[in-house]
């Protein structure tokens, strides 16, 4: 709860800073503030408490994920100053929106009442619509914003409908009350319809097949930093929220429900990876890769009891790798109209450090040890095999194999092609973010126990 309040306050603070013309101070101030909030959240870890009529429930799950979101937001904010240097008058708006987005994100993992969940997801979504369209003179950005907005609100409608049916069936929005109802009394079948619609909406947000079509277009069109936000932050927020929803609202799953999850996961992994193979735009490729990762993460829904820590680990690994990836991508492509793979030609020779970081983050996502991505996949498959869905495991493996194809396309471009471009000096912020993200990646790779045991 305190986290939520503090984050909202921080957002407002950064808006106020603009008024006092402290534009330069906004980013550092926000980062410091976020660090403080991170400390605050971490200090509350282990608490299991509901605030304000159970509107916000702080438990290990929410605290851990909140910390993760805050860390990622710090990275994203750190890159903002340089990224928005052409729109420096709007920097406070951008930072504020990111901070509010974080508030939405925290709400989505610590909700105790569906209204908080709904508002959280709307804050997150609307912030993202804005960020996607924020490069208003760029038609691609507009198109991305429009597509995201249209499909997003469509999905919101479905989520709302789902919530409505849940309410209709149980007569409450409160998770505990709902829990009581579904465990101790009869309730109409709509409940399940509602849950399913709710889940479909969330599956849309995390971009799984067949609700994934928006993702490549939006990722490609949005400004790179926004793409980073969507791919690293929004996706794992939605996934965590989905996980929490299923844990709280559908603790016992029917077989056919599992089949749906399995189908969605399989389709996402395959479609995402296969489609990514032929992409020439790194952001678009990353979108498809994200779809496949969404497929991976969705599989945690099959083993709710002990998959929370695995999900946390996977999300952390994925997000951290994504941040490192985007830190480099943003730097390389910021002067360019598009983000083709050719932009990376010869980058390995001119910028060995950044190229190395990019390589490492790609390897992490491809699941090569000892980077975190590998452990994430390992723990996930480890959980999954217990559920008995061997076919999923096989598909996951095949998907991983395919994924190497496109991740290595970038690596090939980095090292084997010659460059004919002159890039400006690397902004310090990007470099720091990239290095820190990679370090974090390696650290949680080497000591996975620290993350895994958080929710154990």
């Amino acid at each position: 709860m305190n986290t939520l309040i503090a984050i909202s306050g921080l957002g407002i603070l950064s808006l106020i800073a603009e008024i006092f013309n402290a534009r330069k101070a906004i980013v550092p101030m926000t980062i410091i503030g976020l660090l403080a909030i991170l400390g605050l959240t971490a200090s509350e870890f282990g608490l299991d408490k509901g605030y304000y009529n159970n509107m916000v429930v702080v438990d290990k799950f929410s605290s851990a994920f909140s910390c993760l979101f805050i860390i990622i937001t710090i990275f994203l904010v750190a890159m903002s100053h340089d990224f928005y240097k052409n729109q420096s008058t709007k920097i406070s708006d951008f930072v504020a929106i990111k901070v509010f987005l974080l508030a939405g994100a925290v709400a989505m993992v610590s909700f105790g009442n569906l209204s908080m969940f709904f508002l959280g997801i709307e804050v997150l979504s609307i912030a993202l619509y804005i960020l996607a369209a924020s490069n208003r003179l760029n038609l691609k950005s507009n198109e991305a914003g429009m597509k995201y907005f249209l499909m997003g609100s469509f999905a919101s409608g479905i989520i709302l409908f789902g919530i409505c049916l849940v309410y209709g069936a149980t007569g409450s929005f409160d998770l505990k009350a709902i829990y009581q109802v579904i465990h101790y009394s009869n309730f109409p079948q709509w409940y399940f319809i509602g849950i399913v619609l709710l889940l479909i909406g969330m599956l849309f947000k995390i971009a799984t097949v067949p609700f994934h079509f928006w993702a490549p277009d939006v990722y490609e069109g949005s400004p790179a930093l926004t793409t980073a936000t969507m791919s690293s932050l929004a996706k794992i927020v939605a996934m965590a929220a989905l996980f929490r929803l299923v844990v709280k609202l559908l603790p016992v799953q029917s077989y056919s429900f599992q089949v749906i999850i399995v189908c969605v996961a399989i389709a996402s992994m395959l479609v995402g990876n296969i489609m990514a193979l032929r992409q020439n735009n790194v952001k678009r490729m990353f979108a498809f890769s994200g779809i496949s990762h969404a497929g991976f993460m969705v599989m945690t829904l099959l083993c709710l009891n002990n998959a929370a820590s695995v999900l946390l680990y996977y999300a952390a690994a994925y997000a951290v790798a994504g941040i490192a990836f985007f830190a480099v991508v943003i730097y390389v492509t910021r002067e360019k109209q598009n983000e083709t793979i050719d932009s990376f030609n010869g980058f390995g020779k001119t910028h060995p450090l950044l190229a190395g970081i990019l390589t490492a983050s790609l390897l992490s996502m491809a699941g090569i040890p000892i980077l975190a991505g590998f452990f994430a996949k390992f723990f996930l498959l480890n959980q999954l095999i217990q559920t008995g869905w061997i076919v999923l495991v096989i598909v996951a493996v095949i998907a991983s194999i395919i994924s190497v194809g496109y991740y290595f396309k970038i690596i090939l471009a980095l090292y084997t092609k010659d460059s004919e471009q002159n890039l400006p000096a690397v902004p310090l912020a990007y470099q720091i973010v990239a290095v820190l993200a990679l370090l974090l990646n390696i650290l949680i790779g080497l000591f996975p126990g620290y993350v895994l045991n958080l929710l154990g």
């Binding site: 939520l4 909202s8 957002g11 407002i12 808006l15 605030y51 304000y52 009529n53 509107m55 916000v56 240097k85 052409n86 729109q87 420096s88 008058t89 709007k90 708006d93 951008f94 504020a96 929106i97 509010f100 987005l101 508030a103 939405g104 709400a107 009442n113 209204s115 908080m116 508002l119 959280g120 709307e122 804050v123 609307i126 912030a127 619509y129 804005i130 369209a133 924020s134 208003r136 009869n186 309730f187 109409p188 079948q189 709509w190 319809i193």
Partner: protein, 170 residues
């Protein structure tokens, strides 16, 4: 057939018809007008439920704010002509098919699920007067209420952000 039922059917017919007309009208202005009627009919439904406060708010927000916004935008863009170009028959077909499909599926699903409905019980307690709503909203739902302000704030900043011209940096 009771009066209530007749009113319900009447209102429902208006709601559905105007909703439909909103969609198929070629002129956006007409669509907007139909939509306003639709909103009013929905408000009528609210009144049927005795939810007066909600009905009022509904009219204020939707018809008053949102529709004005729509109309304003339509005017701003000078879209009040029946200018929508040809649509491919395939997209139409797809739309009709999916409409039919989703409609059929949802209705079928609900019809199949319906028997669980328990008998309607009336407690007689006041649950939807302004007073009660206010209490619920500002006590139990205080946090979401505050959080909605964050939502609106974001929307506000966003709209400004999207419309504001960048000042060139010195």
């Amino acid at each position: 057939m009771s009066t209530l039922l007749i009113i319900f059917y009447f209102l429902s017919a208006i709601t559905i018809a105007t909703a439909f007309l909103t969609i198929i009208s070629k002129n956006p202005i007409h669509s907007a007008i139909y939509l306003v009627i639709c909103f009013f009919s929905v408000a009528g439904h609210y009144l049927l439920f005795n939810a007066q406060f909600l009905a009022i708010v509904h009219i204020i927000v939707y018809s008053g704010a949102i529709m004005v916004l729509f109309l304003f935008t339509i005017m701003l863009m000078n879209l009040n002509k029946e200018g929508e170009p040809h649509k491919k028959w395939a997209t139409k077909l797809a739309a009709v098919i999916s409409f039919g499909l989703i409609c059929f599926v949802m209705l079928a699903v609900f019809i199949k699920a319906m028997p669980v409905i328990a008998a309607y019980k009336q407690t007689g307690q006041d649950f939807q007067s302004i007073k009660v709503l206010g209490k619920v909203l500002l006590n139990e739902y205080m946090v979401p209420f505050e959080f909605a302000s964050v939502l609106l704030l974001v929307a506000m900043i966003g709209t400004v952000l999207l419309s504001k011209k960048e000042k060139s940096v010195q």
